[in-house]
Structure formats: structure tokens, C-alpha cells
């Protein structure tokens, strides 16, 4: 597969590993946060940690939209299906997230809710077009990568004059989340989370470009390297971060030059701005209520706003007392630190979203890495 296999090459991986090991300064420790859930997954799935010197530690960040989706929002989707008899279309990852009353969207199906998994926003729109008597709601989640398609289908629905299609818009933004981490007491004041730099998200950046990250580098003096999605990209980015730290630089660098430019996808940005606007505040699971961090549908497209159409109210729901998802999302704790990990909380019985989404730090560690917690001798 072109542009895929090349970036997974084991031989180059060995060379990059050696290069990183060479460049790491003796006695110095490095801690980098990979913001994006896709990177967390790549690191686990390919075993990238094995190729890094012990001095380099990766901290898993909150860039997994399923992980930061609050229970209250899933409750809204379930409410729409169960109480309003709406057909709710959702991306697959979200279906198993535990919500209130022991329900998840998948479990709500067993109670008669018509909740369907779709691969693309276009599928939801097509369903509404095909069946005008059916009330369809698209449960739109995701960072900036996934937002342009939502904006597109809303605009298309408007053009078509559809009366039976609306969107429950839970799109969130990357820069405010990075800010929240950098501003958190554990990072800023207490030094509990020693953060030397960020690996910036791959595909979010194709949309927003590299410019939005300049502020972090400048104001917080943290280097940011935008990395592609494949494991070699991640390793190259780590090498670039190590170098920046060694040289005392705090810049935004772009490893993913084959897909990311400084300004990003202007057409997609214009489209998002046309259909969506900032919410003054939005609750993020694990990060609390953040200002100007999420999007809602503009007045002009209110006819397609499920919250307006169905008069939905948002009710915050706290996490399980012992669930450490919040701390894990902020990089303060690791999966093993959570009392529930691997005992009460497993991929089959997830207590929090870090375990449900395969990109969540806990699920990734459980599925790909828990064998490391127990020493096993390989012959």
C-alpha cells in the first residue's frame, strides 16, 4: 500500500531508534505528550515504546473524542432514540460508551432504540433522503478532522430542504484542549506532569494547519511537532522533539509535510465557519468545562439542530467515584494507577471511556500492552 507500508518499515525504524538513542543527552529525561488518540493507538499497536530509549516517556493525551465525550451527551442521544422514537446514526466507537442508568447506545438498542452504526455522515443524510417519514439524527462527534463532513451534510440537507434530518453537534476543538492541559495545575505549577513537548495531531492539522499551534510554542515554551499517522512518523517526530529540547528551542515543526501545510484546508475551514460557531462553554469529560472549546450549529441552520428541534437540555453526569479517566486524560495518572483498571474496568465492562475507545489510554494498554506489566521471558 503506497504511502502506508513505507512508513511502517522496520529497517528504518531501527535506524531511527538508534538515532534517537544517540541524540538523547545522558542523564536527561524527556516526556512528550501525544495529543491524538490515533497516535496513542499507533504507538501501542506497533510497539513503538520498545524502540525508544528509557529516557523518553510518552504521555497519552486527551485527543480521543470518544474519551472526552461526556456521559450527559450520550444520554441525550439515547433519550432521542428511546423517548422521541428518532433513528440515531452514530460512528461505531461511541456505541459502547457507558452512559447513565447502566445504558450505552448499544444496550439501548436492546430496549428498542433505533440506533445505527454508520461509517460516514453521508450515510445518515442518505438515510433521511431515502425515508422521508423517518426522523433521523446524526450524532456528530470528533475533533476538527471530523467536523467538515458534518458541516457539509448540514449544508446539503438545507439545500435539499429535508424536514426529517438534524444533527446533535458535539464537535470539539484541539487548541483549547492543549491549552487546558498546559494550564492545568499539575503541569503549570506542580510539575507533576513533566511535559517537554507535544506530538501534534496528524489529520486535525491537515484541516487547521500548523498556525494554531504557534501560540503554545511561544507562550508556554513547549515545542510542538505535527506528526503523520504511521509509526515511523511518530518516531521521526520524537527525534525532532528531542532535538528541540536539547537545543532549547520551542517551535512548531511539521513532520507531516506530505499532508499538512501552514494554513490547512481553507475550504473546509470556510465551510465549518459558515455552518457552525463557537459554544461559549462545553463540558469535556476529564477536563471539566472549557470555554470556547466546542461548536454548535448556527442560527441560520437551526432547522437542522437536534438540540433545538427536540428541546434537549444538557445534564452533566459525574464519573464513577473511583474512575481515573479524568486524570489519565490529562496525563496525570497512568492506567495502572486507576483502582478499577483490569479488575472492574475492562474492555468488556468499561467503566469509563478511556477503556471503551480502542484509542483510550486504558484500552490501548489493556489490549496491546498489559503483558508488559508482568515480566515474561521470551525464549
Amino acid at each position: 500500500m503506497k504511502y502506508v507500508d513505507d512508513f511502517r518499515d522496520g529497517e528504518i525504524a531501527r535506524r531511527l531508534a538508534a538515532a534517537i538513542a544517540r541524540e538523547v543527552e545522558p542523564g536527561r529525561r524527556y516526556a512528550f505528550m501525544e495529543f491524538c488518540g490515533g497516535h496513542t493507538h499507533a504507538i501501542s499497536r506497533y510497539g513503538v515504546t520498545d524502540l525508544l530509549p528509557p529516557a523518553v516517556r510518552m504521555i497519552h493525551g486527551p485527543g480521543c473524542p470518544v474519551c472526552v465525550l461526556p456521559i450527559g451527551r450520550i444520554d441525550q442521544a439515547i433519550q432521542l432514540a428511546l423517548d422521541e422514537g428518532v433513528t440515531v446514526c452514530s460512528y461505531g466507537d461511541t456505541l459502547r460508551v457507558p452512559a447513565s442508568e447502566g445504558l450505552s447506545m448499544l444496550r439501548a438498542r436492546a430496549r428498542g432504540a433505533d440506533i445505527r452504526m454508520i461509517y460516514s455522515a453521508a450515510d445518515a443524510l442518505a438515510l433521511a433522503q431515502r425515508e422521508p417519514e423517518r426522523q433521523v439524527v446524526f450524532f456528530a462527534i470528533g475533533f476538527e478532522t471530523t467536523t467538515p463532513p458534518t458541516a457539509l451534510v448540514i449544508r446539503q440537507a438545507a439545500k435539499l430542504g429535508l424536514k426529517n434530518f438534524s444533527v446533535l453537534c458535539c464537535h470539539v476543538l484541539t487548541p483549547p484542549a492543549i491549552t487546558a492541559i498546559l494550564d492545568s495545575p499539575e503541569v503549570r505549577d506542580l510539575g507533576i506532569v513533566p511535559l517537554d513537548g507535544f506530538i501534534g495531531p496528524a489529520h486535525v492539522s491537515t484541516v487547521i494547519g500548523t498556525r494554531p499551534y504557534a501560540g503554545f510554542a511561544a507562550e508556554y515554551r513547549k515545542p510542538v511537532v505535527i506528526a503523520g499517522f504511521e509509526p515511523l512518523d511518530v518516531m521521526q517526530a520524537i527525534r525532532m522533539l528531542v532535538r528541540q529540547v536539547n537545543e532549547g528551542r520551542a517551535e512548531v515543526e511539521n513532520e507531516f509535510t506530505r499532508a499538512v501545510t501552514a494554513e490547512g484546508n481553507l475550504k473546509a475551514q470556510a465551510l465549518m465557519a459558515e455552518v457552525l460557531e463557537l459554544r461559549s462553554e462545553f463540558e469535556w469529560r476529564g477536563l471539566g468545562v472549557l470555554p470556547n472549546s466546542a461548536l454548535k450549529i448556527r442560527e441560520g441552520f437551526a432547522a437542522f439542530d437536534a438540540e433545538a428541534r427536540f428541546g434537549l437540555r444538557y445534564r452533566p453526569v459525574p464519573d464513577h467515584k473511583s474512575c481515573d479517566c479524568g486524570a489519565i486524560l490529562r496525563g496525570v495518572k497512568q492506567p495502572l494507577d486507576c483502582k478499577l483498571f483490569g479488575t472492574v474496568c475492562t474492555p468488556e465492562t468499561p467503566m469509563g471511556s478511556c477503556m471503551v475507545s480502542s484509542e483510550g489510554a486504558c484500552a490501548a494498554h489493556y489490549t496491546y500492552g498489559r503483558f508488559r506489566d508482568i515480566p515474561v521471558t521470551v525464549a
Binding site: M1, K2, Y3, V4, F7, I12, R15, L16, A18, A19, G37, G38, H39, G63, V66, Y91, Y119, S120, A121, A122, I141, G142, F143, T145, T146, P148, P149, L152, P201, A202, H203, V204, T206, V207, T210, A214, I226, G228, F229, L232, D233, Q236, R239, M240, R243, E251, V252, E253, N254, E255, T257, R258, A259, V260, A262, G264, N265, K267, A268, L271
Partner: protein
Amino acid sequence: MCLAIPTRVIALLPDGQAVVELGGVRKTISVELVDGLAVGDYVIVHVGYALTRLDPEEAEQTLALMREAGIDTAGVAG
């Protein structure tokens, strides 16, 4: 939500659609978010939509840098 794959455009269709290909597998997706595409171009596809073009020259350069692990870092962006 980052799962996205690099694919080659093998046909352009009406209504902002295109057929893309990766490793022999073909799919019809939307190209409404990327202007001026031609058959043979590479695009990154996410949840059924092309998000951006993939630049073959930059890809080659990045690979070259990785292969010769020891040379200076890639482009600095602002």
C-alpha cells in the same frame, strides 16, 4: 478521531464524488472538501471524505530523511 488513509484518485464522478483506491480496494467517497483534484492525485480520506491532497514529493523527502537518519530535521513551520 484520526483514522485516515492515503488513497489514489482513480475516477472523478459528478456531485463531488470520486472513486479512490488503496492496495486494490476501491471506494466511492466525497471530494467536496478538496478542490481541483485530478485522476492520479493522492488524497487523505477520513470517514468517507477526502480531507486534503497528499504531496508525493514531500512524502519522498520525508522518507529520504528517515532513511538517512542522521541528517538535519524536516521543515520548520510557523
